[in-house]
């Protein structure tokens, strides 16, 4: 079931009604079972009645539950390490990572939709059980609901199990304001996914086709920038649009799902970028990879002088893993390497500048608009170029590099930097101007007034629906659905 389809809309309306009614008249227990039914129905919609296709994923989830119960009795670090390794090994096997011999793969087709996100949830339950955060434990129904919660099933956002449990106990009431906010988020998401993302994807694809016609360095640079930068913007629109839709659906169900994006292209540095892009993933990895790595290394090398560099190394490891998580082939190792390189060089630069200028003057420098714009350009260029490993295979990467040449790649980077420095900075200034409060009475910017929002929502829905009808097909699928 595509989340931009009418079927999904009907399903959301029906499930919200059922879950809300169950919560009101049957209590939390009944609500939980009804929610589980909706979640399983949603998962089943991807296999068209071929239930066997779900078996490996179900087995993986049940294995996670069994391991969690085993960890309650075996609390040693060794047992925990073994359990994590087991879960990761099964995940790698089911996802058919290229380094796993083909002879070991399950030869029958099966569904792995959202498996990467289920991995996070399984690990989350194991870790929090071990660390005693789940004081009441987690039963089969709640575990099933947490793993398959349909708004976050396909592509997150990744929610901590304690937060999820709290919201199950006390779902938010559905008032008019909440309803309005939910509809607004869903409309914005639909507009991004169905209207803006296909337009930008069209530019990206057009540039890919037009690369052969580019002969001058300027043409190579601008075409290369449209290819690399176009995909970065497309991915943002596609994924943040999806997140907007599911956050809106979550509100209707009484849940506050974590945000995944916070204007990432406004980031003035690569580190800042990752605090704004796919936030639930980077937060998770910071908590469960970065922090433990830093703590472990600090224990082993307890030196104040080494502390910043240990942070750099931990950043590299964390972001290398983020890259690896995205795919099964070696090209994603390169992606992880480039992400890791970006954050660690950025961190080293911050350390060096703080040492040279002093922390306070450096922070003042980093806040200057010109410096921010420059950082924005550099960040976007590095991210867009790294992201090529995300959407292209080895052959295509080699083809692009040989077509562009060293000078072409350099020209591409320059165009990307110039574009992001000017356009994203101008957008931020415009945004600040438009959202400046002009109504002294309630201090609310006129663009955020409920009447103005009604206009935007109506327009976005009308344009998205017309666009979907005219293009006579569903909107492009959610990119992260395949993870």
């Amino acid at each position: 079931m595509s989340i931009t389809s009418l079927q999904f809309l009907y399903f959301v309306l029906a499930s919200v009604l059922l879950v809300r009614l169950a919560g009101r008249f049957g209590g939390m227990q009944v609500r939980g079972w009804v929610m589980l039914g909706c979640n399983l129905f949603f998962a089943a919609s991807f296999v068209n009645g071929a239930w066997l296709l779900l078996l490996p994923m179900a087995g993986f989830a049940l294995m996670g539950l069994a391991v969690t119960h085993w960890l309650k009795r075996n609390t040693t670090p060794r047992a925990f390490g073994l359990a994590v390794l087991l879960v990761l090994a099964v995940f790698v096997w089911l996802k058919k990572y290229s380094f796993v011999p083909e002879a070991l793969w399950i030869q029958h087709p099966y569904l792995v939709l959202g498996l990467s996100y289920i991995l996070f949830r399984v690990l989350q339950v194991m870790i929090d059980t071990r660390e005693g955060h789940l004081t009441d434990g987690i039963g089969l129904r709640d575990y099933g609901n947490y793993l398959t919660s349909y708004p976050t099933f396909m592509s997150g956002p990744i929610q901590r199990v304690q937060d999820w449990q709290d919201q199950q106990r006390e779902p938010l009431p559905l008032g008019w304001a909440m309803l309005g906010e939910a509809v607004e988020r869903m409309a914005l998401g639909l507009f991004k996914v169905a209207v803006l993302a296909p337009i930008v994807l069209g530019w990206h694809k057009g540039a890919l086709k037009g690369l052969d016609d580019a002969t001058t360095l300027t043409a190579l640079g601008s075409t290369g920038a449209l290819i690399a930068g176009g995909y970065a913007v497309y991915l943002y629109l596609n994924f943040s649009g999806y997140t907007d839709i599911v956050v809106g659906v979550g509100r209707l169900l009484g849940l506050t799902l974590p945000e995944n994006f916070n204007r990432p292209f406004a980031a003035g540095s690569f580190l800042d970028f990752w605090a704004r892009w796919h936030m639930s993933l980077s937060d998770w990895l910071k908590t469960y990879v970065y922090n433990p790595v830093v703590v472990a290394l600090m224990r082993r090398y307890p030196s104040r002088a080494l502390e910043p560099y240990i942070g750099v190394l931990a950043f590299f490891v964390t972001f290398f893993l983020i890259g690896l998580w995205h795919g099964q082939t070696m090209v994603f190792a390169l992606y992880g390497f480039l992400l890791g390189l970006g954050v660690s060089v950025n961190k080293l630069y911050q350390i060096a500048m703080a040492k040279r200028l002093g922390r306070k003057p450096y922070n003042e420098l980093a806040r200057r608009p010109g410096y921010q714009a420059w950082g924005r350009g550099l960040t976007f260029a590095w991210f867009s170029l790294s992201l090529v490993c995300f959407w292209a295979g080895w052959d295509q990467i080699v083809g692009l590099c040989s077509r562009l040449g060293v000078l072409g790649v350099a020209a591409t980077a320059v165009v990307l930097m110039a574009f992001a420095s000017t356009v994203f900075t101008a957008w931020e200034l415009l945004r600040q101007g438009l959202l400046r409060p002009v109504r002294a009475k309630d201090g609310q910017p006129w663009l955020r007034h409920r009447y103005a929002r009604t206009v935007w929502v109506t327009a976005m829905v009308a344009i998205a629906v017309t666009s979907l009808a005219l293009t006579s097909g569903p909107a492009p699928d959610i990119v992260y659905k395949n993870f």
Partner: protein
């Protein structure tokens, strides 16, 4: 939310939709401009309508370019006079409806001009095409103009026909009196203007909304959606469904009757008759078997018409068959309007020229060059 918001917010939504609709219509009117008028039309005693002699008009439809329509001293859409052809020049009389006329296509891009140029090159001498096509004509109307075509002393008469022109071809009574002028058409009074009221105005506004044309234009570019929508028609699409309906069998019988008589009339003056069967957009879209719904065959009607032509002694030109090598043949048509574009007319001309030369039709037997 304040209590008044329960009324204000829906009203704002409606107003937004209204503004968007108006903006959409405005944008569509800019992108799909229409203008000019087809003023060169007279009453004709035989067929009800004909094109005005020595008249010119300039018009643009939503999907097509600006087009100059210039008619010669007989009301035919070609620059050459309909008087006697200069010595050494070969002449073709082209009968048919809008496709023959080159409706929504610049003269030089239409089948008439293209075929004249191609044949001229192949024959090494001047070839003119007296374009007698009139938009809205049925096969019966073309049949009634056969004497006028023969009076031009052409080297060949080409009848351009498409399935669309067969749908409302003729009633049984009209067919029985086919050799007489159509009294009802000739005497038909102009349609009285409809009484103006709000409903009529809104109805007309929606029907004429350019935004609707723009929407259809994009909608019909999707092959699957276009096929689904077209196949919702009953009789209009029945010629695609096999076996043919009784109505379509009757229409084919009528075609055989009239074509046979046209060929006979031509034979009496030693003028060969050629049937150029132009496919509709839906046939082009269905050419790839993977896209065909069960029981649908776009080429079946062509085979039937081809058999009729053979039995009647006319030369058949199958254009659809030539489209097999084209990746998206439906792009040769305007999506909403359904008429062929200039590129579509190039296909018509190519097929016609090739067949006239290959079949060594009449005076064209002496031509030895290849068509472009």
């Amino acid at each position: 939310m304040r209590p008044r918001d329960f009324a204000v917010i829906p009203l704002i939504s409606l107003a937004t939709l209204g503004v968007l609709a108006l903006a959409g219509e405005g944008a569509a009117r800019l992108a799909f401009e229409e203008g000019g008028s087809w003023v060169c039309q007279d009453r004709d005693p035989a067929t009800g309508a004909r094109l005005t002699k020595n008249c010119s008009a300039r018009a643009k439809s939503a999907e097509g370019p600006w087009v100059d329509y210039r008619y010669n001293d007989c009301g035919f859409r070609n620059p050459e006079s309909c008087g006697g052809a200069p010595a050494g020049r070969m002449r073709i009389a082209l009968l048919g409806a809008s496709t023959a006329q080159g409706y929504k296509v610049r003269y030089e891009e239409g089948v008439a001009a293209r075929a004249a140029a191609d044949l001229g090159k192949a024959c090494g001498r001047e070839v003119e095409v007296q374009n007698m096509g009139v938009p809205g004509y049925t096969m019966l109307d073309s049949y009634r103009r056969m004497p006028q075509a023969l009076a031009l002393h052409p080297d060949a008469i080409v009848l351009v026909l498409s399935p669309y022109e067969l749908v409302d071809m003729a009633s049984r009574e009209q067919l029985a009196r086919r050799k007489e002028p159509d009294a009802r058409k000739a005497a038909a009074a102009p349609t009285p203007p409809r009484a103006r009221n709000l409903i009529v105005e809104i109805d007309a506004m929606v029907a004429n909304a350019r935004a609707a044309t723009a929407a259809q234009h994009f909608l019909y570019q999707d092959r699957a959606r276009y096929i689904d929508l077209f196949m919702m028609h009953a009789d209009k699409a029945d010629y695609l469904r096999q076996p043919l309906s009784a109505k379509w069998e009757q229409r084919l019988a009528d075609v055989e009757l009239m074509l046979g008589e046209m060929v006979e009339a031509g034979r009496a003056q030693n003028v060969p008759v050629v049937l150029l069967f132009g496919p509709q957009r839906i046939q082009a879209a269905l050419l790839d078997p993977r896209w065909r719904p069960q029981g649908v065959d776009p080429e079946a009607i062509v085979k039937r018409v081809s058999d009729i032509a053979k039995r009647s002694g006319a030369v058949m030109v199958d254009v659809l068959g030539n489209m097999h090598g084209i990746a998206q043949p439906e792009l040769l048509y305007y999506p909403v309007d359904g008429h062929m574009t200039g590129e579509g007319h190039a296909e018509l001309a190519r097929a016609l020229t090739a067949q006239l030369l290959a079949q060594r039709v009449g005076s064209f037997a002496s031509c030895t060059g290849g068509a472009s």
